[in-house]
């Protein structure tokens, strides 16, 4: 197997007396989709936040392309090609799809302080990204009026702006209809087609077993399973999550 894209060695995170993560080792390879599962409080969110740069680990090392890195915040991680699609999608309903895609990374013209927004370029680029994702989202529509699937497309298009290599998706299918779930899983496949490493955090067994290549299960801050999807089953995963099966 090729060298991992990103590697976590002995990562622990403590909040006072609470040990959210214990000595976790994990490596992610280019182009793979990893399903990250675990019950509430298992440490999924903590791990995601560490990967995304929102939290710094209490101990342990993060190696990106074999080089040790420290993310001081999410912008730092984003600059290194790590993007997050948050559970609530982190969209501004009052702005258009294109505005949301480019939020914080607007295309500007002119020289500071006389810079203005290049709405045309942003709309064109957003339209390209939506086309890549095979979504019918229109760049100049307000996000407020969009369906769950379209909102997902906006949040995912955002991750494609830069040359992102790792996309973390936090419960993308938790609060949407069945038809839209299929839409989102399609979007994840498109990311995979483009060689992006996807970490899919989900409670939904069918989603993980449909799109993921590998399954990682956390329980009480410990990694209890890390195996190929093909070698596992939803029954085993359920057992691992609840603790009925110790490790696998």
């Amino acid at each position: 197997m090729s060298a991992p894209l990103i590697e976590f060695r002995g990562i622990s995170k403590r909040f006072g007396a609470i040990h959210a993560l214990e000595q976790l080792d994990l490596s992610l390879h280019a182009g793979e989709t990893v399903g990250l599962m675990g019950d509430n409080g298992a440490g999924k969110s903590t791990l995601v936040r560490i990967i995304a740069g929102n939290f710094q680990p209490s101990t342990g090392q993060i190696l990106l392309d074999g080089q040790e890195v420290h993310f001081s915040d999410s912008t730092d991680a984003r600059d290194r090609g790590i993007e997050v699609v948050y559970q609530d999608l982190a969209l501004c309903d009052n702005l258009t799809a294109a505005d949301n895609v480019f939020l914080g990374r607007e295309i500007k013209r002119g020289v500071w302080p006389f810079q203005w927004l290049d709405y045309g370029a942003m709309a064109r680029r957003s339209a390209e990204l939506f086309a890549e994702l095979k979504s019918e989202t229109r760049p100049r529509d307000e996000v407020r009026q969009m369906s769950g699937g379209q909102r997902q497309a906006v949040a995912i298009a955002r991750t494609r702006l830069a040359q992102s290599r790792i996309v973390l998706m936090d419960e993308p299918t938790a609060a949407i209809s069945v038809r839209q779930v299929a839409e989102v899983l399609d979007l994840i496949r498109r990311l995979k087609d483009q060689g992006v490493t996807v970490v899919l955090i989900s409670h939904r067994m069918p989603d993980v077993f449909t799109v993921a290549d590998r399954l990682v299960v956390l329980r009480r801050g410990n990694k209890v399973a890390d195996k190929k999807i093909a070698d596992s089953s939803p029954e085993e995963a359920t057992g691992l999550i609840t603790g009925a099966i110790e490790t696998a």
């Binding site: 609530d88 982190a90 501004c92 009052n94 702005l95 914080g104 607007e106």
Partner: protein, 340 residues
């Protein structure tokens, strides 16, 4: 033959109600102008029109700053008090001290030049705004409470600074900024419209403006996407302070006097202008165009009713009703947009 849009895609309907609610304030303004013009010929006399605009310009300038604040889902109750404090400092600098504060004649004033007085007023506004913005972001005290504190504290500071009395009598160069005209148009009116155009361009076409809207729409989302939301919040209170300072300078120049009780209750007129203009108190929605319309609407209503000899008490009742009606209409329209 028109083709049907693919299923599942939201259909862009021409919603007549949407259209009306969006243009309700401008339409109502035009209606008011029409009615007053028919009832009272003096209303459209150029002198009266300029008079209305001049009255609107001071509160209108502050309403521009308030629009930035309300777009971030904040509120600035301190504007009237900050105006008074900035006006006094401006007057004090213009006169070069308190020595001849009651002298109405301009000849004997030996103070600092106008640009320094104006800069001092604006500096007071910016500092006042920055203090409040930092209290909101650092101390996590809600804007309503911080600026309510500012409302009291800045008024107190103004009273303390002035010892209760006015500072009057400025040079002709100073008073020109409030009383002068360029081609019959009063200077404050020109400044108001220029400021409105610049503010409009900033909000619509700059990354900063986009970040103001984003902060008001979903502050957490904006922050996760790398928008420095705390800085945006501090900046909008500084923006509000800037316009308080500018308005304080123009008002002092117009009245040839500054006093600690200036701008009492002004915050209510200013907030009413912004809200009537369609800016949502929940943040993220609104425009400078709306605010200008809202300010003009209040100005026209007040002026027209005065010309028609309607009691000022009734004016207040009407403005209150229009305010509530405007927000009710916006809420209803927003509900329909969300349901679409």
């Amino acid at each position: 033959m028109s083709t049907l849009p693919p299923p599942g895609e939201p259909v862009a309907r021409l919603d007549l109600f949407q259209l009306i609610s969006r243009w309700a304030a401008p339409l109502f303004l035009l209606l008011l102008i029409l009615v007053f013009a028919l009832l009272e010929p003096r209303f459209l006399h150029p002198l009266n029109v300029l008079n209305v605009l001049r009255q609107v310009s001071i509160s209108g300038l502050i309403a521009i700053g308030m629009t930035f604040v309300i777009l971030t889902a904040g509120i600035d109750l301190s504007v009237g008090s900050l105006l008074a404090l900035a006006g006094l400092v401006c007057a004090w600098v213009s006169k070069g001290g308190m020595g001849d504060r009651f002298a109405l004649g301009a000849a004997e004033t030996v103070g600092y030049p106008v640009y320094m007085a104006a800069s001092a007023a604006i500096a007071v506004g910016l500092i006042g705004g920055a203090i409040q913005g930092l209290a909101i972001t650092r101390l996590k005290v809600p804007p309503f409470v911080v600026t309510l504190g500012g409302l009291t504290a800045f008024r107190g500071a103004a009273l303390l600074f002035s010892g209760g009395g006015p500072i009057s009598g400025f040079s002709a160069e100073f008073t020109w900024w409030g009383q002068g005209r360029i081609e019959t148009v009063p200077v404050p009116v020109i400044i108001f419209f220029v400021a409105a155009i610049v503010a409009h361009l900033v909000l619509r076409y700059t990354p900063y403006g986009k970040h103001v809207y984003a902060t008001g729409g979903n502050a957490r989302a904006a922050q996760l996407n790398g928008v420095a939301t705390n800085w945006i919040i501090v900046s909008v209170y500084m923006m509000s302070g800037f316009f308080c300072g500018l308005a304080a300078f123009l008002l002092s120049a117009r009245l040839n006097s500054a006093e600690a009780v200036a701008g009492s209750g002004l915050e209510l007129t200013v907030i009413a202008s912004v809200v009537i203009g369609g800016t949502s108190l929940f943040g993220g929605i609104g425009s400078i165009f709306g605010t200008v319309v809202g300010a003009l609407l209040i100005g026209v209503l007040t002026n027209g009713l005065v010309l028609l000899n309607v009691s000022s008490f009734i004016q207040q009742i009407l403005i209150g009703l229009i305010l509530v009606a405007a927000v009710a209409l916006d809420q209803y329209a927003l509900g329909r947009r969300n349901a679409a």
